[in-house]
């Protein structure tokens, strides 16, 4: 798991700034470590030689200053890391959202929104740990041991040599242990995942277990599974902790060896007390950053994973191609023709999603004449929704073109074109706000009278007035929940309010009870006159009411027998 995805370093300026800040702070921290050891040894050695408290006041005072400076530098590391994490995640969030809106609004094969949103908000915690804890330790682990060895070597090359001896032991042993366990570790983690999910599975299925009178029996099974989990986990931990212990062993052995070697030399008079003490105080500082790094290692993976997830999503969306007039320079867009006067034509249109190998639409030909209602019938996943997306300019065809009259849709200004369309998706979204505000999505400047008329046309007015606050009732996330039928009718009211010449309906009666279906069908009838309506549907009665019905199968359109209007 790469700690810092190169994409992240490239995209997020905050990360680059942080890297520089951390390196600077790391060097400062290393110097402070050296200073602390030198000063402590100086005070103790002088006292050993008979100095009084007044004599050592200066080094003691400096020691206090160094201690304060170390505290400040530790604080600075954390602040820098957290700020950077906040900035990075904020930037990633906004990128995700902007890329989605501009490049891939249809997102028919996208990630579940709630999970993604949570990751984009709470993911900052994991990233904070990585940038505020792990990264500084990484820098310190690179800088401090070098500084310590350098100073130690300048004081006493032999002691430095001893320290240097123990250091390589660490990666060698850890590599050996790691190789031995890697294969077994993977199998272990899979088994552990199964065991870990057992409890969740059982709790989720509690109502079913109770219904079959089997919930008591499961209680014993939980204890059994927990025991298995414990045994399996302990088996893995025994080896995992070994690598950490090797690092600690190297550290304690290093300290002990240095103490003994230096101690013997002191007795023989080969080294002074102050030098010896300095080297001894330095010794643990050699290993400390590495030990801290090892302790934080697990944290690094989580932060990296969050960033990677968001970056992958941005890249995936970027690969899509929505038609948007963001750079009018290249398109020289013209105002779109009036669909009430010209036909809409799909000319040999093919389309496939960037992540798939199969064409959803293949050399599709379709013509919609002004004022007619066409039903598009076909199996789920056959491409009906995709076709509507292309007409909305959410994506560009991989080959072929869509013509509005004589103009290619790709040459038109997308926002202007969409003003001519009213769209009702299969799962309409209710935004947080009042019912009236939701309907006004169709036309923000409409007055109340027009909103009411649109709702009446859509068959929504009746249930809205019976709501506690009528049109001012708050709906959407956290507001009053509405049934599927009610939501569909509100979406139809939106479309009605827009008063657009083209109306696109994606499965308007799917998953509705018979009563709601009737209301929706009647509403569509009222909406039709004088507009181009393209209906994707399963429902035979809806298809029967259209002027024409076409079958979309295997990416192609087939004419059905013309149905009497």
């Amino acid at each position: 798991m790469r700690l810092l995805d190169p994409r992240l370093v490239r995209r997020a300026r905050a990360v680059r700034v942080l890297l520089v800040v951390d390196v600077v702070l790391g060097i400062v921290a290393a110097l402070l470590v050296l200073a602390q050891a030198v000063l402590l040894a100086r005070v103790a050695a002088r006292s050993f030689e008979g100095a009084s408290l007044d004599d050592v006041a200066t080094p003691l005072g400096l020691l206090v200053a160094v201690v304060v400076a170390r505290a400040i530098s530790s604080w600075a590391f954390e602040v820098a890391g957290r700020r950077a994490a906040g900035d990075v995640i904020s930037q990633l969030r906004l990128d995700v959202v902007e890329t989605r809106l501009r490049k891939h609004p249809a997102a028919l094969d996208g990630a579940p929104s709630a999970e993604l949103a949570t990751a984009a908000v709470s993911g900052v915690d994991a990233l904070e740990t990585t940038l505020a804890r792990y990264l500084p330790q990484l820098v310190l682990a690179a800088v401090v041991p070098l500084a310590v060895l350098a100073l130690a070597a300048s004081i006493d090359p032999l002691a430095a040599g001893v320290m240097l001896l123990t250091l390589p032991l660490v990666p060698v042993f850890m590599w050996l242990v790691g190789r031995y366990t890697e294969r077994r570790a993977r199998e272990r983690w899979q088994a552990l995942a199964l065991l870990a999910n057992h409890f969740l599975d059982v709790v989720r299925g509690l109502p079913t277990l109770r219904a079959f009178n089997r919930s008591r029996a499961q209680a014993e099974r939980i204890t059994e599974v927990s025991e298995e989990y414990r045994r399996a986990t302990m088996g893995t931990l025994r080896i995992a902790f070994l690598s950490g212990s090797i690092l600690e062993l190297a550290a304690t052995l290093g300290i002990a060896l240095v103490a003994v070697v230096v101690g013997v030399r002191l007795v023989e008079g080969g080294i002074g007390f102050e030098s010896a003490l300095t080297v001894l105080v330095l010794a643990p500082e050699l290993y400390l950053p590495l030990r801290n790094l090892a302790a934080q290692f697990h944290a690094s993976a989580d932060g990296a994973a969050v960033a990677q997830r968001l970056l992958d999503l941005i890249d995936a969306d970027n690969a899509c191609n929505s038609l948007l007039q963001s750079d009018p320079g290249t398109h020289s867009p013209s105002p779109p023709p009036d669909p009430a006067l010209v036909p809409i034509v799909f000319e040999s249109v093919s389309f496939r999603y960037p992540s798939r190998d199969v064409d959803v639409l293949r050399d599709l030909d379709l013509e919609l004449l002004p004022g007619e209602t066409v039903a598009l019938v076909g199996p789920s996943g056959g491409g009906k929704s995709t076709l509507l997306s292309l007409l909305l300019g959410f994506a560009a065809p991989t080959s072929g073109r869509i013509l509005i009259g004589d103009d290619d849709l790709a040459e038109l200004e997308a926002a202007e074109w969409r003003r001519r369309i009213a769209f009702v998706p299969q799962q309409p979204t209710l935004f947080r706000g009042t019912v009236a505000e939701n309907i006004r999505l169709g036309d923000p400047d409409a007055n109340d009278e027009r909103v009411t008329r649109a709702a009446e046309l859509a068959g929504a007015h009746d249930f809205v007035v019976r709501l506690p606050q009528g049109y001012d009732t708050v709906v959407g996330d956290g507001g009053r929940p509405l049934s599927a039928g009610q939501r569909r009718r509100l979406a139809l009211a939106r479309a009605a309010l827009r008063d657009a010449p083209v109306v696109l309906l994606d499965e308007p009666t799917a998953d509705l009870d018979p009563a709601s279906v009737e209301v929706v069908v009647a509403a569509i009838e009222r909406l039709r006159p004088g507009r181009n309506v393209l209906l994707a549907t399963h429902a035979p009665e809806l298809a029967a009411s259209a002027d024409r019905a076409l079958r979309l199968d295997g990416g192609r359109v087939f004419e059905r027998a013309e149905v009497a209007a």
Binding site: A44, L266, L441
Partner: protein, 548 residues
């Protein structure tokens, strides 16, 4: 304190294991402190240039400590994790036992899907109590006392300084860390919730926002919410690192203080010169004991929050209970009825059903229809006695369900449908839920009646095929058929089909309902649905009105 107490009661406190874990922790830390101290003493003594033999013992001690410390630490980590895992098993069992009688009607969690994962996440997070809440503070306390006493033997005034320093670093700073973390968490919670809501809305509604040309407004709202969270985060960042920096400061200043006192004391001729460096190193390394406490305190507040949520659930008293003198379950065939039933869930005041009547004769097929969100699933909950009515009665052959044992009531019904859970196990295990002693022949029989046998025969692992989390590796139709086969295997007089056709397209749904009704033979069937498929095959259709 009581929260921790109640949680420990839930998870257990095996004295032996806890003592072992704490003891090893104290040894590991103690050896570490002793190592630095003895090394300092060795150097100081060596500087007096005594005969080498005088140092031999110290050298041996140093070497021993160098080996003993990693070993003790390794064993301590194993012991503490073992303890935590054991406790986890116990907590899971206990929590399961406590919530079992509450599911599904009395637990909000079961009517809101993914809240169950949070419950399980909370339970698992309680391991933290054992790993970070028990050992580290007690070890820190024990070791601090030992160090202070050791110093007091040679220089009482320095011992005082050390005691103050350790108290600050071991009590004040961790408490501060916990409090600062909590406050930051609360401040950010609202902003995070707002931003998450805006993001979800934008991501879900992207097609409509773009189609209606309103994407810029939505983006602006997200940017505002994001900016607010960023501002709060920056403020909190300043405070966040404070606790750890204070630990470094306290450790350093205390060491300097001890050093100064040692120097002064030696200068006054009251302390042997060998002990000056020794005491300083002792003071410095003693802070290893309290160093992990600030982050432990921070994590502990999160663990306690999880714990409170778990306790809230685990300490509920179930509303549905068996009668003291249960009546005999009427023998099949039976007539099931709801008479003038008004019902509501414990968490809300308005009833979901009002004066509702339903009658299910033996062998009859009744469909229950109505808009989604009405009380259709509540009817299932009432029949299975997961919920009791507030008015009216639910009866089997005239006997009120409240006079029967819950176990007997549930033997009358077999549940299938969208909410029936498929377990992350094999086909065989899922089917055996209905009849644990069923033979493979019986399992295949049920699969045949549900028209799933050909598909199972064709699978390489047959009945042992794993079906994935909630039947994820099965198609919608296959999952429903499996669930129906299971219900048929239960051999109950009444079959409850609760939304069996959700998410299936028209033709598949029609086939499924027809097959299910056919396979039901002479059982009574209650078909709950909001779709038209299958309504032509039933004897009667009852509508559940939308709740007022």
């Amino acid at each position: 304190m009581t929260t921790i107490g109640r949680l420990l009661e839930l998870g257990g406190l095996p004295r032996g294991r806890v003592a072992l874990s704490i003891g090893l922790g104290a040894l590991a830390l103690g050896f570490g402190v002793a190592l630095m101290t003895t090394a300092g003493y060795l150097i100081s003594r060596a500087a007096e240039q005594p005969p080498i033999l005088a140092l031999t013992t110290i050298i041996v001690v140093v070497r021993f400590l160098a080996l003993a410390r990693p070993l003790a630490r390794y064993l301590e980590r194993l012991a503490s994790h073992d303890l935590a895992l054991q406790a986890l098993g116990r907590i899971r069992s206990r929590v399961y036992e406590r919530i079992e009688p509450l599911a599904p009607a009395e637990l909000e969690a079961f009517r809101r899907g993914d809240v169950v994962s949070r419950l399980v996440g909370d339970v698992d997070a309680l391991q933290g109590l054992y790993l970070r809440g028990l050992g580290p503070p007690l070890v820190a306390l024990g070791l601090s006392v030992a160090c202070v006493v050791a110093v007091a033997v040679v220089l009482p005034v320095a011992a005082l300084a050390l005691a103050v320093g350790l108290a600050l670093g071991g009590i004040v700073v961790p408490l501060l860390a916990g409090r600062l973390g909590r406050r930051a968490g609360r401040r950010q919670a609202a902003a995070r919730g707002e931003l998450t809501a805006e993001l979800v809305e934008l991501l879900r509604g992207a097609p409509e926002l773009v189609a209606y040309g309103r994407e810029e407004e939505a983006l602006a709202r997200v940017r505002t919410a994001d900016g607010e969270l960023l501002r709060l985060g920056r403020r909190d960042a300043l405070v966040a690192g404070l606790a750890d920096a204070l630990t470094v400061l306290v450790a350093g200043l205390t060491t300097a203080a001890v050093l100064a006192l040692a120097v002064a004391s030696h200068g006054a001729g009251e302390l042997d010169r060998v002990l000056v460096a020794t005491l300083a190193l002792l003071a410095l390394s003693s802070f290893d004991a309290v160093a992990p406490l600030p982050s432990a305190a921070r994590e502990l507040s999160g663990t306690l929050a999880s714990g409170r949520r778990v306790l809230h659930l685990a300490e509920r008293v179930p509303l549905v209970a068996d009668p003291l003198e249960p009546a005999q379950l009427p023998r099949a065939p039976v007539t099931v009825a709801l008479q003038g039933v008004t019902a509501r869930y414990p968490s809300s005041i308005s009833p979901v059903l009002k004066s509702f009547d339903l009658r299910l004769e033996p062998g009859s097929r009744v469909a229950l229809v109505g808009p989604s969100g009405a009380g259709k699933t509540t009817v299932t909950n009432l029949l299975l006695r997961f919920l009791d009515p507030t008015e009216g009665r639910v009866t089997i052959d005239g006997v009120d369900l409240r006079d029967l044992r819950q176990e007997d009531v549930r033997r009358t019904f077999a549940l299938a449908g969208q909410d029936a859970h498929v377990f992350d196990s094999s086909i065989r295990e899922n089917l055996r839920l209905a009849r644990p002693a069923a033979t493979d022949a019986e399992l295949r029989g049920a699969l045949r009646r549900a028209r799933l046998d050909d598909w199972v025969e064709a699978l390489p692992d047959g009945l042992d095929t794993l079906v994935g989390e909630d039947g994820a590796s099965l198609s919608g139709g296959q999952r429903q058929r499996l669930v129906i086969a299971r219900a048929l295997l239960a051999d109950a007089p009444v079959l409850l089909l609760d939304e069996p056709t959700a998410h299936l397209d028209g033709p598949t749904a029609r086939e499924l309902v027809a097959d299910a009704l056919d396979a039901a033979d002479d059982r009574a069937v209650l078909l709950i649905t909001h779709r038209p498929e299958g309504l032509e095959l039933v004897d009667a259709v009852v509508t559940v009105p939308e709740p007022a």
